[in-house]
């Protein structure tokens, strides 16, 4: 990859990280900050503030990580970064084996 491409790739990566971290902070710290108020809303028996702490934030975290993996892996394809590390590593490890023998 050319230097400007790498730079562009890195900038896009950083932007995505910042967006996802803002959501991460809102669903955990944001929801906790207003938990006493949210508790006045009750859904299926769950006071909403309690629900965010016990379930909502967790579901959000799982989705955030899923989104990051999905978007970045797709971006890797876009920049023609093939998932070839396995093979490369295999080669070096084979070299090691040959040396050992």
């Amino acid at each position: 990859m050319s230097k400007s491409k790498v730079q562009e790739y890195w900038q896009r990566n950083l932007r995505l990280i910042v967006i996802l971290l803002v959501i991460w902070a809102l669903i955990s710290y944001g929801a906790a900050l207003i938990a006493p108020a949210l508790n006045n809303i009750v859904i299926l028996g769950f006071p909403l503030g309690y629900w965010f702490g016990s379930q909502g934030s967790l579901i959000g975290f799982v989705l955030l990580i899923y989104a990051y993996a999905k978007i970045m892996n797709k971006m890797d394809d876009e920049y023609h970064i093939a998932d070839t590390d396995t093979q490369k590593l295999t080669k070096t490890e084979e070299k090691v084996k040959i040396r050992k023998n």
Binding site: M1, V6, Y9, W10, N13, I17, L20, L21, W24, S28, Y29, A32, L33, A35, P36, N39, V42, I43, L44, G45, F46, P47, G49, Y50, W51, G53, S54, Q55, S57, L58, I59, F61, V62, L64, I65, Y66, Y68, A69, M72, N73, D76, Y79, I81, D83, T84, D85, T86, Q87, K88, L89, T90, T92, E93, E94, K95, V96, K97, R99
Partner: protein, 645 residues
């Protein structure tokens, strides 16, 4: 197994899915069969417990022997051949310790909403791992976290400081696991505590000694299956029994409403769903010092009891604790090295997703477990008449009379060994909620018994608790061994050491670490549990900032990293000790558990200021940072490393 093309890789993966799928079904079938035998022919408790112990330990031993290895790559990083899903399960088991399995729901049971700091903290940290660390750690592609610190800051002293931090954190952590193993063996299986500790450590050693990270990883996958099955089943039973719905995670909203009503009727002071009402107190410190004095025969002065309620109903301590737990999670060495074991960067991203998914299954169930347990107590136990009874061990205890007119066996048993106390404060011979104290660590283990479920469920939970503690201990022993044998000995003292020497030293270190752990675990000091909670603050204030800036700020240099790590450690310890002994020493009501926040601020500030005041890192290191961020190509130094041995 390390050398394989992607074709044989997918065959390998489908084989794994088949093996572990069959194993899961087999384990479920076994539980159903034992359950039916218990109900129909009255299988004895000893026999049930025996079957679970022999089968699970036997299985771990078989996997340990089958995956034993002599290759260094396999020993330290499982040959970098673990597919994302399985690495996720193994990380889940590695992560979920005795604290997650045994203590977390108990804490929620006791403090309600405020315990959510642990639920959010220990899962939200994975978002930081996924976004900020995992892909770069994989790209860096060496063996340990001190490797990264040493290479990034171009210094062996930084490496040694990081290795020492990793060892301290891992040691306290592994000791707590072993205490957990001893407790499970003692409470549920009726074994002697010391014998339980030795048996448990034997199991851990067998696996990690023979096969290192490779054996540990494949055992952890099996342990994950056992622990998750064990954790999900009791709440399902309770949910059916109490709410008539087999999905506790969805249904326990009704239980919350019943708790709110019962608490109002019974005038319970601290409400279960109400946020931010934990006071600051040094009761823990006083108890820990007294216990240590009793054990070692010392005469350390105990501080005067202090309780600070000024900061109740403010969110600051809750937020700070959550943040420390998140950053600590992301900075813990035994989790970070997991991302060396996957085959590629893409796979490392998927792997964090699977890790959190598997962890999520337990963490989303823990509040349901706690809530159903709390409802059982409020509904079925509070209000019972009290009586005195002589327990099996000869102690006379206050116990409660059950619906059948006889004293409740579990209340008598738990009270007689000091895990539960009933103090009839108003002498009305009726149990109030405030008159009842139960050891939090016991909620998960005892709930099946309290809720009147068959003994098979209790034995299953015990097997799950053991799996959780053993799998974490396994991973930690590998970290301790590699820190000493790889980071300190090979990288610093004797870079010419042969691979076989390094491997033998690593194996030797695992045995030494296990022996030290046994010595630390036997006295069952309360301080050990406390130290695990502190480990997160320590990791958050030392390793987290330097790994983060090491990746994201090219200008960060050696001087900055050292100043940051040392400064962060000092500030954290200073606040921690002062607040632990006297909670009147606090800033905005933050407890000693959240002390990492101050250390982290100090670390970041020092690292940035000192780096800017000194020369930028050498060109080679700046290029290394560029390489880290570029997902194409191999790290030159990482390549060197692999060629080297």
């Amino acid at each position: 197994m390390a050398a394989m093309s992607s074709d044989s890789g997918s065959i390998f993966q489908s084989k794994l899915v088949r093996y572990y799928g069959l194993f899961t079904l087999g384990f479920l079938a076994l539980t159903v069969i034992i359950l039916l035998l218990e109900i129909s022919v009255g299988l004895s408790q000893g026999l049930i417990a025996g079957i679970y112990m022999v089968l699970t330990f036997g299985l771990y031993a078989v996997i340990g022997v089958a995956t034993r290895t002599k290759a260094l790559d396999e020993y330290y990083v499982a040959g970098r051949s673990v597919p994302a899903v399985f690495n996720g399960m193994a990380t889940g088991a590695d992560w979920m310790s005795a604290a997650s399995f045994l203590s977390m729901a108990g804490t929620l049971w006791g403090i309600g909403y405020d315990g959510m700091a642990y639920i959010m903290g220990w899962t939200g940290g994975y978002v930081l791992l996924a976004l900020l660390f995992a892909p770069y750690i994989r790209k860096f592609g060496q063996y340990t976290i001190p490797d990264f610190v040493g290479a990034r800051f171009g210094s062996n002293s930084a490496r040694v400081v990081a290795a020492v931090m990793a060892i301290i954190v891992s040691f306290t952590y592994v000791t707590a696991q072993v205490v957990g193993v001893g407790l499970v063996m003692q409470r549920v299986l009726g074994l002697d505590y010391g014998l339980g500790v030795i048996l448990g450590l034997g199991g851990v050693l067998f696996c990690s000694f023979l096969g290192g990270m490779k054996a540990v990883t494949w055992t952890q996958v099996a342990q994950y299956v056992i622990l998750i099955v064990a954790y999900l089943i009791p709440p399902i039973f309770m949910s059916v029994k109490l709410l008539g719905n087999p999905l506790p995670q969805l249904a326990y909203g009704q239980a919350l409403q019943q708790i709110i009503q019962l608490e109002a009727q019974q005038n319970v002071a601290k409400k279960y769903v109400e946020p931010f009402n934990e006071p600051l107190s040094n009761a823990g410190a006083i108890a820990a010092i007294r216990q240590a004095n009793g054990f070692f025969g010392t005469a350390m002065a105990t501080p005067a009891p202090v309780t600070i309620t000024d900061w109740r109903s403010t969110p600051w301590d809750f937020l700070a604790l959550t943040f420390c737990l998140m950053a600590g999670t992301a900075g813990l060495p035994h989790i970070l090295i997991r991302f060396y074991t996957v085959p590629s960067i893409k796979e490392s991203r998927r792997s964090v997703f699977w890790s959190l998914f598997f962890i999520f299954l337990l963490y989303v169930t823990a509040p349901a477990y706690a809530t159903l347990s709390r409802l059982t107590i409020l509904k079925d136990v509070v209000g019972l008449s009290l009586t005195k009874e002589k327990a099996a061990n000869g102690r006379e205890v206050t116990t409660a009379i059950g619906a059948d007119g006889k004293p409740l066996a579990w209340v008598t048993k738990m009270s007689s060994i000091g895990l539960m106390t009933i103090a009839d404060a108003n002498n009305d011979n009726k149990l109030q909620f405030s008159e009842l104290t139960i050891n939090n660590d016991l909620i998960v283990l005892s709930t099946p018994e309290i809720a009147g479920l068959p003994y098979t469920i209790a034995a299953l939970v015990a097997a799950g608790g053991l799996a959780a503690a053993l799998s974490t201990a396994d991973g930690l022993l590998v970290v301790i061994a590699s820190s000493i044998a790889h980071d300190i000995y090979f990288k610093t003292v004797n870079p010419k050491a042969k691979p076989t020497t390094r491997m033998n030293l690593g194996k030797g270190m695992i045995v030494v670490a296990a022996a030290l752990t046994a010595l630390l675990a036997l006295p069952q000091l309360a301080l050990v549990a406390q130290m695990v909670a502190w480990a997160f603050s320590l990791a958050a204030s030392t390793l987290f900032p330097i790994v983060l800036l090491g990746i994201f700020w090219r200008r960060a240099n050696f001087q900055g990293a050292m100043a940051g790590m040392v400064g962060g450690l000092i500030v954290t310890l200073w606040y921690l000790v002062n607040n632990y002994l006297n909670p009147a020493n606090n800033i905005m009501g933050l407890s000693h558990l959240s002390s990492g926040v101050f250390g982290m601020i100090a670390n970041f500030t020092l690292m940035i200021v000192v780096s800017l005041l000194t020369a930028p890192p050498p060109k080679a290191i700046q290029e290394m940072v560029d390489q880290l961020r570029n997902p194409v190509g191999e790290m030159s130094e990482g390549g060197e490393m692999i060629h080297g041995h």
